[in-house]
Symmetry: C2
Subunit: 325 residues, 2 copies
């Protein structure tokens, strides 16, 4: 029984999802759905590309649509819209707005009798599982999430929006002592600022004052203000040659004392040469889960917290017990 | 609504479970069930201690029984026996025999309409989740489980069974280069032997030849043969003073290339000052899950692979989404 997957949005994440689908024996890439001109999108292996305007033509033909759009402008309305007609999976990652996004997707999916999974990826996603598990096993403990070293798309975009910046890339880099200090008992009241620094590689447009650009970067609220931020001006050629990847990394550390006074620590770390390729793999695992949940007749919205790892796998429950337990 | 827990077996693990139950606001330690003379078991806070022979008196009074017995001789028959009348959680950890144990417990629980969770703990348990997730996200990759540094009860018992050994403790110690080599691409065909060494601290009885004891240890099949094993003879006083804890540690590392060729690695590490205290906390989290599954009307046997992390928590689904995603 092959599971038919449509991929909506075909940027870096969509390409990662397609690769993961094609690596599987039981998944079939049905088509790519794009908001661009379908003729402008070149998909491998003659996989059909259709316009987002024609997405309803997939009704009854696709098992699940994986949405590979941005969390800022696109997913908040596209996920509920598609959940009215399809099983969907998205990687909505605006942490503060997840409850609101959940409610909107849940209403659409529940009413249409479909299954939706939101916020699948590594954070939110796998790291969320770690945080929930740490809290359960070490209820009086603390946990800390550290991101990097790796490329932050949001911060890179923020740099590119500054007048005088032709192109840029921003690396989020953990402060090397942070994890060790946390494990030794330190409490961070503002972990984002206290545990990370920001490295910016910036291509300046001709005629713009680099000192002013640097000042503007370092004073940008939310993104760079209050961080240890370095700005390095590079040529476009150097940026393209030396900063063309999308690596990322992160870890979630839990620390707590059980009632007997013993210190227990747990540490889940990821190191990814390609963030979109790995996130694509995670989305595909959750797409398999969405189909299983749908086949059980359970409609509505789910998050990684609601989904057993057994639902990721193509193996039978008994094979999984033999192999993984 | 308080959840009433009975703890069957009151050694180190049972004490860890009791501590974890008492740390929770919604769980109530109903009683301890022992196969010893109940009068010989001293429980804190006037918690009743009853004989295992009277366990059926708990019917209708207890929500779940957590079994804190050994996996070799006890759980294989006690878990199915208790699942005929109660919701149960155990930490059965004889990896090769889990499928068989599952079938026996499943039959008993399914027929009696109860919920059973087996193999809850950190390995099997949390590490099983990591292995299953790594396989899903990196289907063409490999994973490696490394245990230690920490005390192996099974190996310590094996030492104590040698003629001439009065007491002993065995530490499983990872070979320091193993994790690094694995991440760099090395494949271990026999990870147990290639990634661990064994440190034995032995109290010899008077009149026994230490050289013979050491030879016997190093040649013991399955346990020590083929391992880099060190044997240090110590006095009973030194063993009790310097080797009286039950620390343990371990990690599960996954490594794989996604279809684009990028190397992705994941690493879940635990470091526990007290193995029984932490395992006790994990068992209690799964006891909460067992009650939720039972209340949904789902009878039969489950393993950690089947259980969403949301089931561990006392928080509402919405609070969990806000806090952990």
């Amino acid at each position: 029984m092959s599971v038919k997957i449509a991929i909506a949005g075909f940027g870096k994440l969509g390409a990662g999802v397609l690769n993961a689908v094609r690596s599987s024996d039981v998944l079939e890439p049905l088509c790519i759905v794009t908001r661009r001109d379908p003729c402008s999108v070149s998909a491998p292996d003659c996989i059909p590309v259709i316009s987002f305007n024609d997405v309803l033509s997939l009704k009854g033909k696709v098992d699940v649509i994986i949405l590979c759009f941005g969390s800022q402008g696109d997913l908040p309305y596209l996920s509920p819209m598609l959940a009215e007609n399809f099983n969907i999976v998205d990687s909505f990652d605006d942490h503060a707005k997840i409850p609101e996004h959940f409610d909107r997707v849940n209403e659409a999916a529940y009413e249409s009798g479909h299954t939706a999974i939101i916020s699948a990826g590594w954070d939110p996603g796998i790291f969320s599982l770690a945080r929930a598990a740490y809290r359960a096993f070490m209820p009086k403990g603390e946990y800390l999430t550290i991101w990097g070293p790796g490329v932050s798309q949001g911060h890179s975009n923020a740099l590119r929006n500054i007048p005088g910046v032709a192109d840029a890339k921003q690396y989020t880099v953990p402060i090397s002592s942070a994890a060790r200090d946390f494990i030794s008992g330190k409490h961070f009241s503002d972990p984002a600022h206290e545990c990370h620094r920001r490295e910016c590689y910036v291509v300046a447009k001709k005629g713009f004052d680099r000192a002013k650009i640097e000042k503007r970067i370092k004073e940008m609220p939310d993104y760079f203000e209050g961080y240890d931020t370095s700005v390095t001006f590079v040529s476009k050629e150097e940026l393209d040659a030396r900063h063309n990847g999308f690596p990322h990394a992160g870890r979630v550390i839990g620390r707590g004392r059980t009632a007997d006074g013993s210190l227990q620590t747990a540490d889940l770390a990821l190191s990814l040469e390609s963030n979109p390729a790995f996130t694509g793999s995670v989305l595909v695992a959750y797409a398999r889960a969405a189909v299983k949940i749908y086949n059980e007749g359970r409609a509505g919205c789910f998050t990684p917290l609601d989904i057993p790892v057994a639902y990721f796998s193509e193996l039978s429950p008994n094979e999984q017990r033999k192999k993984f337990l």
